[in-house]
Amino acid sequence: MSIYTLGIDIGSTASKCVMLKDGRDIVSKSLIAVGAGTSGPQRAIAQVLESAGMKREDMDYVLATGYGRNSLEGVADHQMSELSCHGKGAAFLFPEVHTVIDIGGQDVKVLQVENGVMTNFVMNDKCAAGTGRFLDVMARVLEVKVEDLGTLGAQSTKYVGISSTCTVFAESEVISQLAMDTDKRDIINGIHKSVASRVAGLAHRVGIRDQVVMTGGVAQNTGVVKALEEALGHTIHTSPLTQYNGALGAALFGYQRYLKEHQA
């Protein structure tokens, strides 16, 4: 008989679920663009179950992670930090991984991974600079969609420096660049470089070893990935599943815990 585990990652800006069969095959996944404290978690859970044609009772183990992990009383069998889950998910997708850089909605974390397990980490301080939120704010002033930032930045021809790390100050820097008629694409490229330098500083604190994997929503922004590769001098691996990485890790841990509990 197969074992089904469900990983739920409730972040600050999105809710994600991954259902796994036998800790190996992804059966279904879901993503709702609102996170902790909203209807997002419940909707994401309903969706992942529905698309697999299954019910909560069919799940052998449910593990929650992310900022809102403790809000799922009665649904999840166990909670773990998103740190370990991201390490686990990344090691599943890239077995050779040693460094994971995750840029989420309001935090940045850099994990050191040994044999698929997180052994050390650093996170950003309370400041939102360099996080997904920073990019959201910039996209809004530039009047472009956040998912288009990568493609637009790639068309840049001129270096424009955005020097402020503070989101509020960087926003006014962008506005004054716009007032000077600077090409939006150059500004976007400058923003990506500014995010990369901030994240690189954090990454150097845990040390960077190949393979380097980037996860979280911002990993889909090719501009940030490229800027970060340049700043670190390492190739960065990403996967189309980056946004689901935390939920994937949670489902994997769920499988491990299920086996452990049923062996005992």
Binding site: Y67, S81, L83, S84, N115, R205
Partner: protein, 487 residues
């Protein structure tokens, strides 16, 4: 749950209480009282029989009583920037006469209770009583408190008291000042500052001296770039000790009493040795007490190390601990699964929140840098200069790392939890590099979190919990890997 308190701990509490009670008495008798930074050579003041109190200790107490925010804000209203250390802000507001006070109705002279305060009411079975009307837990009226507002002692003193009503009002305002031990610290007649702790201290004490128009005795100890304290540095400090003695002679009108000075030095050494032995008990597995207790005992090292009572109290605690180790007893209220070094000053206003995830995960604090940093033993006056040259933030990074890695090894820690303290920049600034070295040298994971020792506005519980949980998971993985390698 009220913890049973051992005789040693009781004695330690009394020592600190006495320091403040004696100072209040001295002030009432018209004697001079002073305020001092925590690592000023107290031996000098002891030689003159001076009553001295400690603003850092007081600020921690005020913060732990959750009056840090209102006092910090009061300092900000006086023009002090909110980037200044929270202890300094609290102390400066206090020196200016500001006090956290209980709100009352001036007409009826009755306290106005804050409906949000208080603990839930429990029935005979210990179950929380629910209010049928609101569906929310009922409050135990005995635990409810009046609102806290800001008052000013100089304004109160300036009030007239000609009519009965005026007298009653003035008295009530005096009484409304929160009656915590530390809040009743008399205003200083002189200040003693040694900036071996940090440079913020220099300006802090200069400001108090100017504000109150009182003498300031300053001992300047520059940051030390080398592990060794050079002879020229010793000479620099020695000369300042001599000048301080002269100043104290002028202030008190007394001659420096060499005998008393020697006695104070002997006491300080005895206290330091007993303190170190108490700290060493954290090496036991499981530890007989939590490292968080050391933060409380620090009050004795700060306020009374030159007094024989402090030495005796630590020696008594040592006896308690020896007994506990024999029976395997511990005051830690949970089974110890992980041992960590806690780096930095705790977030006093958020102590319960700090403790919660540690308790939930069986994490005991078995190392804090205060042990080596305050356990200084010396033989002569030059040795004393050298000892005062080495404070937590005045030593170079090599010395700082060496102190910490030493206790981490001896006290067998599995990880390190670092408080990036918004108040204490000198302490937090080099922690990123230290963290990197701990992991490289000790092979243990480290996690850092943002917070503040006195200002609760700088701490976020959810972020803290995630970091602690991450640390626990990393320690678990690390342990499993080490066990697998051993097999």
């Amino acid at each position: 749950m009220a913890k049973a308190v051992s005789p040693g701990v009781q004695a330690l509490r009394k020592v600190v209480d006495d320091v403040y009670a004696d100072a209040r008495k001295a002030k009432a008798e018209g004697k001079l009282v002073g305020w001092s930074s925590s690592k000023f050579p107290c031996e000098l003041a002891e030689a003159f029989d001076l009553n001295v109190m400690y603003p850092e200790n007081q600020a921690a107490g005020i913060a732990a009583n959750r009056d840090g925010e209102i006092m910090c804000q009061a300092a900000e209203d006086l023009g002090y920037d909110n980037d200044i250390c929270g202890y300094a802000r609290i102390s400066l507001a206090y020196a200016a006469g500001k006090r956290a006070s209980r709100k009352f109705d001036p007409e009826t002279l009755e306290y106005i209770i804050d409906p949000k305060s208080g603990k839930p009411l429990k029935d005979a079975d210990g179950k929380v009583v629910i209010d049928p009307e609101t569906g929310k837990p009922k409050k135990d009226p005995k635990t409810m408190q009046p609102y806290t507002v800001l008052d000013d002692i100089y304004e109160i003193e300036a009030l007239p008291e000609t009519t009965e009503k005026e007298r009653a009002y003035k008295n009530f305002r005096r009484e409304a000042i929160k009656p915590y031990r530390q809040m009743r610290m008399p205003q200083p007649d002189f200040v003693l500052c040694c900036n071996n702790i940090c440079n913020c201290m220099t300006k802090w004490y200069e400001n108090i001296a100017r504000m109150r128009n009182i003498p300031l005795i300053m001992i300047d100890i520059p940051y030390n770039n080398t592990v060794e304290v050079h002879d020229t540095n010793v000479a620099y400090v020695r000369a300042q000790f001599d000048a301080a003695i002269k100043q104290l002679e002028e202030i008190t009108g007394k001659k420096f009493d060499e005998k008393k000075f020697e006695q104070a030095c002997a006491n300080a050494n005895r206290t330091a040795q007993a303190w170190l032995r108490v700290c060493d008990y954290l090496q036991y597995k499981p530890a007989p007490y939590s490292g968080f207790d050391l933060f409380n005992h620090m009050a004795d090292v700060v306020t009374a190390r030159g007094k024989v009572a402090a030495a005796e109290a630590f020696e008594l605690l040592e006896k308690d601990l020896a007994e506990q180790v024999k029976t395997g007893a511990t005051t830690t209220p949970f089974p110890e699964q992980y041992r960590v070094m806690f780096e930095g000053i705790p977030c006093w206003p958020k102590l319960p929140n700090l403790f919660k995830p540690l308790k939930a995960n069986g994490v005991n604090v078995t190392a804090v840098v205060y042990a080596p940093a305050f356990g200084f033993v010396y033989d002569d006056l030059d040795g004393m200069c050298r000892a005062y040259y080495k404070a937590p933030n005045s030593v170079c990074i090599e010395q700082g790392v060496d102190w910490r890695e030493g206790i981490c090894r001896a006290n067998k820690v599995d990880g390190v939890l670092v408080h990036y303290n918004r108040s204490c920049k000198p302490w937090s600034g080099y922690m990123a590099e230290m963290q990197r070295r701990f992991t490289a040298d000790l092979g243990v994971p480290c996690a850092g979190f943002d917070g503040d020792q006195a200002d609760p506005r700088n701490f976020n519980e959810a972020q803290y919990e995630t970091r602690v949980q991450g640390l626990v998971e990393a320690m678990e993985a690390n342990k499993a890997a080490k066990e697998a390698a051993a097999k």
